[in-house]
């Protein structure tokens, strides 16, 4: 059973009297532990696809299954609970809470699912911050961190609850190349060490190199879906 399965997923937005098809029938299967990138020109539907996979939005048509469970027609509450327990997000603009320290921003995510053990939470948060290379910066607030460091906090926040799937929407778009590579390397490391499935969208070919699977989206449809080592990639 695939971790994620999309069958003929369509998303149509109504803009006034005009209907805009953001996704025109996407079929996709993602296995546990994959490190995939979705790429394509602006407006090709990358973000919409990630939002569907991430239970932030529901498809107009089609079916999405996560771990075998159909999530495409869940209620808002059920979608929230699915996100809470199964999915981690990394955003282009970090979306860290400015009044919380790096530690607290990460702690915030795990507090939503683990109310029991204080020591356990502390251990997990410090461990993940250490793994993303932020040891010693735990007490800094976002305004005291560089862009790369902020994105590492966001990655730690996404990973701390050990989700099955991490979705990253252009996670390196706001970073210089050095920091961008650093962030992607951390994602690769987490993918290897924790076996977490990553799907990220990007425009950056340098970042794409690190992916194992390349999903090319064009006009709301998958135009190519290749794996590393396959001819033509």
């Amino acid at each position: 059973m695939s971790l994620l399965e999309l069958k003929d997923v369509k998303k149509i937005y109504q803009q006034g009297k005009i209907k805009v098809a953001a996704l025109r029938g996407v079929d996709l299967k993602v296995e546990q532990g994959e490190f995939s990138t979705i790429f394509g020109p602006s407006g090709s539907g990358k973000t919409t696809l990630l939002n569907m996979i991430g239970c932030l939005d529901t498809p107009t048509e089609g079916e999405i299954r996560l771990n075998g469970n159909k999530i495409s027609d869940l209620s808002r509450k059920a979608l929230a609970m699915t996100r809470r327990h199964n999915i981690g997000f990394v955003f282009q603009s970090y979306n860290l809470i400015p009044v919380l320290t790096a530690y607290e921003n990460v702690e915030f995510a795990i507090r939503l699912i683990d109310h029991a053990s204080e020591i356990n939470i502390k251990e997990k948060v410090l461990k993940i911050l250490d793994e993303v290379g932020l040891k010693g910066l735990e007490n800094r607030r976002p305004n005291e961190l560089s862009g790369g460091e902020k994105q590492r906090v966001a990655i730690a926040r996404a990973l701390v609850k050990e989700p099955k799937l991490v979705l990253a929407d252009e996670p390196t778009a706001n970073l210089d190349s050095e920091n961008a590579i650093g962030v992607v390397k951390i994602m690769v490391k987490m993918n290897k060490e924790l076996g977490t499935t990553f799907i990220f969208s990007t425009h950056d070919p340098m970042v794409m190199e690190y992916a194992h699977r390349y999903i090319n989206l064009k006009d709301g449809m998958i135009s190519a879906d290749k794996r590393k080592g396959v001819k033509g990639v």
């Binding site: 996100r83 955003f91 809470i97 919380l100």
Partner: protein, 412 residues
Amino acid sequence: MFSFKLGLKNLTRQKRRNVITIFVIAFAFFGYLFMDSVMGGMEEMSFSNIKNYDTGNIQVMHPEYWEDREKMPLENLIDINQGTLDNIKNMKGVSGVSPELRFKANLNNGIDEVAVLGLGVSPEQYNEVFNTKNYITEGAMFAPGESKAVIGVKLAELMDLKMNDYITLLVRTKEDTFNTIDVEISGLLNSPNPIMNNGIVFVSLDIAQQALNLGNEVSLLAMRTASGDEDKIIKALTGSFKDKNLELKAYSWRESAASVIALSTAKKSGAATILSVVLLIGMIGIINNVILSALERTGEIGMMKALGMREWEIVFVFMVEATGIGILGGLAGCLIGFFGVGYMTKYGFDLSYMGGDMSEYGIPILDKIYGTWNISAFSFLFILSVIVALLSSIIPAYWAAHKDPVKAIYHR
């Protein structure tokens, strides 16, 4: 709970705006507490002036005289004797009984004439009930039987009178014939009750009774009792009057001061209106704060939803923040109110800025108003501030939390 911690930490964001909201709430609260203190002070002083200079704690009179008392008739009076007075004075809790004869008169200074209230009193007994003698600024109270009068300074000023001047009081007797009382001014009165200063002429009771042809009759008996004992003593008096078959009734000062009490009740409705405005200010401040915070934190709300926070959890974060502002505003308001009320109770407010005489507005207060402490108003307002902050944040917080996560994350 982490959401609680986050709500509290959010209080440190947008410090300037939060501080402004807190101060708006605080000053609105201060305004209410200050007004409440002044109104309480006015009420207390009004009641005290009524008791100490006008009615005493209890008045005894004929029920029909009570009905017509504003007209000061010379009918339905009380025929007194020393035995009756002693019996009442010896009652437990009664410290003084003063017979009073109230009559209409025209004061003539030889040139002009003005309508006044004539008050025939027995000085010794009157002083046991009222504090007036302490406010005779020139001269002294007359002795029984003396053809002398005490008048208020304002009346003296109006009629261009001074100490030892002679005045004539033109009165109608019980038989409705004219008579005059010629008296020398023996004292000038400047009491805290402006009504006393403006239009009352005190004369000796026996002189007044003689001029009005009333024998031993008086309009009423004013009594001094310990404050709070009125009802008990009225009950005892009622029983005693019934036993002796006397057609008399005892009235507490509250009944005599019904118009001032009505004014005080009206003021309480005014205070309720002010309170509503204060709460409205608080509500608008809080709602404004939550809406602006939600607009500024759209991306953050989206992230919270992406993390799997449910709407009520996000609402809770905003509510904690709003309630925090309400608590801080309430505390600041109570603190400023504490100093404001403290100042008013200690130093008072000089009424000379407003003409100095509130009797024109039906409030028997002169010179200065002092505030009173009303601790329950502080606690009531503080609790209300928390509740209002909590409630007024619910709808804007829900509006914020209900945002579509995709639109929130991408600020669409």
